[in-house]
């Protein structure tokens, strides 16, 4: 089999698979790429024209302009791409936990806390939104921290519990110290209706933008609380 046969086989396979995937997601992605390239190229041309008009022999400056534009455009594009893909990726990645709950692999609060803490650190790993550690507490259970080793958080569990019972929205705890390094802590209470179920607390390396703080709130509301209900003992 030649390399061309292999490429052709892969393309055919992808086309066949695409039929079963969400068409809207693909349309959104393609629209974003086209729009981004159009806007970026327009800005590039405007800058290019401006430089050529302002300076007689732009030479090295023009080269620098192109390189910096490619760099900034590439990085910004990559970041925006990641941002718009967070909700879709979140659903896909979190599905593994939902499946484990449905199949009974995760059947108690401790297992759920472990899975959730690991998920928070593993998934939320983006520029300006990098969760370096997470603590999950389900009521009547000991809190679970991920990573277990090498991350001693100097924060009072009782205080967190009390704070999380006072509100339903995300609470910024400011800068805390963990393993000698400063990071930012955000407390997200877990409520199901009017019942307090616990909280999760994430530690990030930078202060979160409002859009990311909102992501965490939405994550709790749409992904965590109902799944936690499945693993809580029925009497509670």
């Amino acid at each position: 089999m030649t390399i061309f046969d292999e490429i052709f086989r892969c393309i055919k396979k992808q086309i066949a698979m695409r039929r079963h995937k969400d068409v809207i997601g693909t349309v959104q992605s393609v629209s974003f790429i086209v729009a981004y390239f159009f806007v970026a190229f327009s800005i590039f041309l405007a800058g290019w024209y401006g430089l050529c008009q302002l300076i007689d022999e732009p030479g090295a400056l023009l080269a620098l302009y192109i390189i910096l534009f490619l760099l900034a455009g590439g990085l910004l594009g990559a970041w925006l791409w990641v941002l718009i893909k967070i909700p879709q990726g979140l659903s896909r990645e979190y599905d593994a936990i939902k499946n484990q709950i449905a199949s009974g692999e995760i059947s108690n609060p401790k297992e759920f806390s472990n899975a959730l803490a690991e998920f928070l650190v593993g998934y939320f790993s983006f520029f300006r939104f990098d969760v370096v550690a997470a603590q999950v507490k389900v009521k009547d259970n000991a809190p679970i921290t991920f990573p277990e080793s090498g991350f001693n958080i100097e924060i009072d569990e009782y205080e967190l519990t009390q704070k999380s019972k006072e509100t339903e929205g995300l609470i910024s705890l400011g800068r805390v110290s963990a393993q000698g390094q400063k990071c930012y802590a955000y407390l997200v209470p877990i409520w199901f209706g009017k019942a307090w179920l616990g909280y999760f607390c994430v530690f990030t390396d930078t202060r979160l933008l409002k859009i990311f703080a909102d992501y965490l709130n939405i994550f709790e509301e749409q992904f965590v609380d109902d799944q936690l209900m499945h693993v809580l003992p029925k009497k509670s």
């Binding site: 292999e6 732009p58 620098l64 192109i66 390189i67 690991e118 990098d130 370096v132 390396d205």
Partner: protein, 377 residues
């Protein structure tokens, strides 16, 4: 001024080398969740070939047109020769001197696979540089194989290895000394003893690229200056000196891999970065330049010299692949053959400059005469 330009070029080599260290660490961390194949073809290739890419852009836009592009041709061609000959020679020498290793195992399949692609690409460039008028589609044609290769990789591999990937990092101490500043220890200057995270890894990446841009500009400026001072066309300065300066990062990466015992990575990085150099680092700047400024009318002398250069590069690549695919080890004899090949290349460049012989034209004429004689017979 000759001395000054040489100093500028030497400094640029150090700056490029130091910036690649920071770039490599940041890109390694950011790409920790990718599979080896995709990581190698994207992040590693970009990390080690960024200097050639930046230099080609500077050559084209700073020096412009035919002369500028000849700098790009020179630096990519020279780097290609440096990568396939000098890197294996350096690896063997370092391992022989430091660990007394006399036989280094080599993966013939890697050389067969990557070497074949490289040979095709080299032949392709040899055809492109033979054109008298370079159009945007020449650049697009050069860039296309690399993009196709990327698309193929992304569709044929699983994207995520594991949740955490396999990245280990030990933070340095947070005290910054003069040595760190003078040696451009970007890792220490940017991370300041902190654990590497997504956000500071991006910062490190950006800072490294900015420093690399400075290095590439100095390299191009030094090459231009030296060429003017000595009255040598940029192509000839770029093919030996600038190419060596920009290939130092590749050499360092390969030697480090070889010292760790990753021989396959050490050799495949050299081949992989050649494919990226030839396809993307030369093709993409050519495409942008011609799209914005129109076609480049190549000077007849430059066409002849660059065609000669790429034809000899094509032959050397073929011979080197042959050397590596015969037998399972890189030994003293093979290293000696590589040294001879590099010396032949250097001699060819010097002689081509002095006597300006049209190697491609001669080969063509010979071929035509043979064809004529065959027809008559």
């Amino acid at each position: 001024m000759v001395f000054v330009s040489l100093i500028i070029m030497a400094l640029s080599a150090v700056i490029i080398w130091r910036s690649t260290d920071g770039f490599e660490l940041a890109s390694d961390f950011l790409g920790r969740k990718l599979t080896k194949g995709i990581k190698g073809a994207t992040i590693n290739a970009v990390a080690s070939s960024m200097p050639e890419f930046l230099s080609t852009i500077f050559f084209l836009f700073y020096i412009k047109d035919s002369n500028g592009f000849s700098g790009g041709i020179g630096i990519t061609g020279g780097s290609a020769v440096f990568n396939i000959l000098v890197i294996p020679i350096s690896i063997y020498t370092v391992l022989l001197l430091s660990k007394k290793i006399t036989k280094i195992p080599i993966s013939r399949s890697v050389f067969m696979r990557d070497g074949f692609i490289l040979l095709i690409m080299t032949g392709f460039v040899a055809w492109v540089v033979h054109a008298n008028l370079l159009q945007w589609w020449h650049g697009a044609l050069l860039t296309a194989p690399y993009l196709a290769y990327l698309v193929y990789l992304f569709y044929s591999h699983k994207k995520v290895v594991s949740k955490d990937g396999s990245f280990e990092y030990q933070p340095t101490d947070d005290k910054i000394h003069w040595k760190d500043i003078s040696m451009l220890n970007l890792e220490k200057l940017v991370l300041r003893g902190k654990m590497i995270r997504v956000t500071n890894a991006w910062f490190l990446l950006v800072v490294s690229i900015l420093v690399m841009i400075l290095g590439a500009w100095m390299l191009v400026h030094g090459t231009h200056l030296l060429g003017e001072e000595l009255g040598i066309p940029i192509l000839f300065v770029a093919v030996i000196l600038s190419a060596a300066a920009s290939s130092i990062p590749d050499t360092m990466i390969s030697i480090r891999d070889a010292k760790k015992g990753n021989y396959e990575d050490a050799f495949s990085n050299a081949l992989g970065s050649n494919i990226f150099d030839i396809s993307f680092a030369l093709g993409f700047p050519l495409m942008i330049y011609t799209l914005l400024n129109g076609p480049i009318a190549m000077d007849a002398d430059i066409v002849a010299s660059s065609s000669d250069l790429w034809l000899i590069l094509f032959l050397i690549t073929g011979l080197t692949i042959l050397v590596f695919t015969v037998g399972k080890y890189l030994n003293k004899f093979k290293t000696f053959v590589l040294v001879i090949l590099y010396l032949i290349f250097l001699a060819f460049v010097v002689l081509d400059y002095h006597y300006n012989f049209d190697f491609v034209g001669t080969v063509k004429e010979l071929f035509n005469n043979l064809l004529l004689a065959f027809r008559k017979a």
